[in-house]
């Protein structure tokens, strides 16, 4: 009880200190936010920084915006023309230096940069005033911006620090806006909609009218169909009514890069709707018709020349009737394979696959606490091979993944992540102690028999003793090898993961069927369904 009271007291003091610490800066800016136009890493983005002032900023005072040091890049060309300074909804004039009515903008470029806005000598900001600072192409007051701050290259949460000062550089307010930077999922995608746009004031195919808005009840409906009473049909000079413009078919075109001359499979809501072949430059185009208006999920996957399968590249978007939606820039990540799944330290590990010819392949080897990045060029048929020296890696488990880059803007996402281990060559790999091709109860019995000894077969991690770590290795392979019976959730083993497998999964739902229970947690459930959908081929 005494201990609990002590803990409670500590909590109260701690939180008191925490809030006191926050308020120790006299005041903190409130309602602080930074909205960025894209959360993707390593891309130029527009910032919209909002905050409410709590301590009045006198004339010639300063507002300093500092992105987290070492992560964001402020281009040297960024200046006052790329900024908007909006006070209570009213844009204030900006220049390179402050005057009586113009506030000055000073930019320190680089990765440790900052932007300082010095208020005009005739401008002061009161407590409670709302400030919006736009930085980037979204700046439109006086000038339209053309420079943007570049996001960090590494995913994570980052701070944008905002401080206000008086003219003597005494700190008045401060606050941090947090933003998240993520891996781009759909890098370089371009969406193009060809067809009528209701509400643009132009009567296009499929539209009976277009009054420049999408309001119903004004004679022209929200979907650009005439509302009763219909207007008299327009008459051509010759007296004949003009022929209606030809309707645009509702279709979707998916185009991008796969692997040279590979078969590319397109899925619509999980079902195969089209197979096309990529050309020798790995470019493909798939056209999907018979669509109505609504939200669809389209998937694209392919197999390289050695039947290595890509991930399924998935896109969910709304298709409007009588339009053609073209999605270009789909870039399937490189396929990847390892020469071996277990190597001795210092041994060369071949990491290879196929991608777009002559593209640059970035291979990332993940190790606990570090990441090794290697770049190589794919050859004329897109084949790439990295002879990776495992000497710098510690013994243990590691992961590897790869992505390709055709140009600065055209980068694929990462594909499948493969795992490998570094250690002495194992006498009994995959904890198959009796070498019967399975890791099961018999192997467990043998492990128990050798428990505490230095048996080199049972000592899976080669630490000199058969112990819990070896048991853990065995458990890993137990799962993996059972799953090997039905890899990739292909329950009926027909080489595809599709509706048949889904039916079988439902059949086994809630049971402990070893084949359907992909994660071997003892029950066929949502987790196994999730694994199935990951491997879905249609």
């Amino acid at each position: 009880m005494e201990r609990f009271l002590k803990f409670l007291l500590f909590l109260i003091v701690f939180h008191f200190l925490l809030f006191s610490f926050n308020s120790a800066f006299a005041t903190s800016l409130i309602h602080v936010s930074d909205t960025i136009s894209s959360s993707w890493s390593n891309v130029g983005v527009d910032h919209e920084i909002r905050f409410t002032v709590t301590t009045a900023i006198p004339a010639s005072g300063k507002v300093v915006i500092t992105p987290e040091d070492g992560y964001f890049t402020i281009p040297s060309a960024l200046d006052y023309t790329d900024l908007d300074f909006i006070l209570n909804g009213v844009g204030k004039d900006l220049g390179s230096s402050p005057t009586g009515s113009v506030s000055g903008v000073e930019v320190t470029s680089g990765t440790s940069g900052k932007i300082t806005i010095t208020l005009a000598s005739g401008l002061s900001i009161a407590s409670g005033d709302e400030i919006l600072v736009r930085i980037g192409k979204n700046a439109v007051h006086q000038h339209t911006g053309d420079q943007q701050i570049t996001n960090p290259t590494v995913n994570g949460a980052y701070k944008i620090n905002i401080q206000t000062f008086d003219s003597s550089l005494n700190l008045l307010d401060r606050a941090d806006a947090m933003i998240a930077v993520l891996s781009p999922v759909n890098v370089g995608l371009k969406v193009e909609v060809i067809g009528p746009v209701c509400g643009n004031g132009v009567v296009e195919s499929g539209e009976q009218c277009d009054d420049g808005n999408t309001n119903s009840g004004d004679g022209c409906s929200a979907t650009c169909q005439t509302e009763a009473p219909p207007p008299p049909p327009p008459t051509a000079p010759g007296g004949a009514a003009p022929a209606p413009p030809p309707a645009v078919p509702t279709k979707v075109i998916l185009e991008g890069w796969a692997y040279p001359k590979s078969k590319v499979t397109a899925l619509k809501d999980g079902q195969i709707v089209k197979t096309v072949y990529a050309n020798s430059s790995a470019e493909f185009q798939a056209e999907i018709s018979n669509l109505t208006s609504g939200t669809y999920t389209f998937g694209v996957w392919s197999e390289d020349k050695d039947k290595r399968r890509s991930i399924t590249y998935s896109l969910t978007f709304y298709v409007r009737a009588d339009t053609t939606t073209k999605i270009s820039g789909i870039f399937l990540p490189p396929t990847i394979e390892l020469g071996k799944e277990a190597v001795a330290r210092g041994e060369i590990l071949d990491i290879f696959g196929q991608t777009v010819p002559k593209s640059e392949v970035e291979i990332r080897v993940y190790s606990p606490g570090e990441e090794i990045v290697k770049k190589i060029k794919a050859n004329e048929i897109g084949v790439w091979l990295l002879a990776f020296n495992t000497q710098p890696l510690e013994e243990g488990s590691h992961g590897v993944k790869a992505r390709s880059q055709i140009s600065e803007e055209t980068v694929s996402g990462f594909g499948h992540i493969l795992g490998f281990t570094i250690g002495k060559p194992l006498l009994c790999p995959m904890a198959d102690l009796n070498k019967d091709g399975r890791t099961d109860l018999l192997d467990f019995s043998l492990l128990m028999f050798y428990w505490g000894t230095s048996n080199s077969c049972a000592d899976q991690n080669q630490d000199g003793t058969v112990n819990l770590l070896d048991f853990s290795v065995m458990m890993y392979w137990w799962t993996e090898r059972v799953v090997e019976a039905c890899p990739r959730a292909d329950l009926n083993k027909d080489g595809r993961t599709n509706l048949f497998d889904f039916s079988m999964l439902l059949y086994w739902w809630g049971t402990n069927n070893a084949c359907a229970d992909q994660n071997q947690d003892g029950t066929v459930n949502l987790l196994d369904f999730s694994i199935m959908l990951y491997w879905w081929t249609g």
Binding site: K6, K190, D269, T297, S314, L315, F317, Y318, L526, W536
Partner: protein, 344 residues
């Protein structure tokens, strides 16, 4: 300053602080739309369940929702234009306990909306509620009384979202429910619109085309043939499926189709696969899409016809023969008689 045993509260505080600091780290957000507003008694409320994946790729969503069963009546669930295309747990409404649950997935995963794409495409489903009064409160009490009625919808802790990483990793999840005050005002002045009914009346598009398939596997249904199918409806959503097996002789179907309710898996009655199999998907508006699997013509189909043709041929031949036989003796007799006459 602190003894070793005091390190525990410090760790707790550091942990709670780190949670405060990093609490805004990426997590999928499940939310309801609308989440505020005032609704009138008898009004239809179409509640959209949406997801913001915050840059993550997800593939399975299992939702359990609780709603105020005394002020809301869940009358329907629409999967129209849902990003979920395969349903392991079809939407289930339990009005008595105020529960709605469903679970579905997106093959290949859903990685959020595409920049530049038209309209929002993060819908999981829509629940159609009717706003109702509380049984212990009369209309007068509600209209003039001081008691404010509320309708609350919230996600239960059992709601789950999984990442599309091939491992079934649960996604970090933020859940945002909805709370509405119920108004008794203007109940008489203005007729209430049933927007769901209007939507149903407008829907004249059948569910999407689909390709049912027949297969068998030793591990399921004792190795018997079964049917698999699934489709979507982009407007009001698929309501139900039906399957009919129709016997046939060669190219001819026999009798009328007898439809039977089915889910996405159906154990075939005709294990000989000689029947025409039809699968009907019906949306909430009653629009139907029927896909048919016609088995290939095999020797079993041709044989009865061949036998019949053979029998008919034989009978015809026999009849012709008989006719000939009937004619021939007369002629022969006459001829014979003639010959004989000539002879004699």
């Amino acid at each position: 300053m602190f003894k070793q045993k005091d390190i525990f509260p410090i760790l707790i505080c550091v942990f709670s602080l780190s949670f405060l600091v990093f609490g805004s780290a990426k997590a999928a957000v499940l939310y309801l739309e609308p989440s505020t507003g005032e609704y009138r008694l008898g009004e239809t409320l179409i509640e959209k369940i949406r997801i913001d994946t915050e840059g993550e790729c997800i593939n399975v969503v299992g939702v359990d929702l609780n709603f105020s069963q005394d002020t809301l009546e869940a009358v329907d669930f629409s999967s129209g234009s849902s990003i979920l295309t395969l349903w392991v747990k079809t939407p289930y409404i339990d009005q008595e306990s105020g529960l709605i649950s469903f679970a579905g997935g997106v093959a290949g995963g859903y990685c959020g909306e595409i920049p530049g794409a038209l309209t929002e495409s993060n819908l999981l489903g829509r629940i159609i509620f009717k706003v109702k009064g509380r049984s212990d409160l009369t209309l007068e009490e509600g209209r003039f009384g001081e008691e404010q009625l509320w309708a609350r919808i919230k996600f239960l802790d059992s709601t789950q979202v999984f990442l599309n990483d091939g491992k079934g990793t649960p996604a970090r999840l933020t859940k945002k429910g909805a709370l509405f005050p119920i108004s008794f005002k203007e109940i008489i002045e203005e007729p209430l619109k049933d927007s769901w009914q209007e939507e149903i009346e407008k829907d004249n598009i059948p569910p999407e085309e689909f390709s049912p398939g027949i297969t068998k596997d030793p591990s399921v249904f004792n190795g018997k043939y079964f049917l698999s199918f699934s489709t979507t409806d982009k407007q009001t959503g698929v309501n139900y499926y039906e399957v009919a097996e129709q016997k046939r002789i060669a190219f001819m179907a026999l009798g009328e189709k007898v439809w039977e309710a089915a889910l996405t898996t159906y154990l075939l009655k005709d294990q000989g696969l000689r029947s025409i199999v039809a699968v009907k998907a019906v949306d909430k508006a009653g629009n139907e899409r029927i896909e048919v699997i016609t088995p290939k013509i095999g020797w079993q189909d041709v044989l009865p016809w061949a036998i019949l043709a053979l029998i008919i041929g034989l009978i015809s031949r026999w009849i012709v023969k008989k006719l000939k036989l009937k004619k021939t003796p007369k002629k022969s007799l006459r001829d014979l008689t003639g010959q004989e006459n000539e002879k004699f």
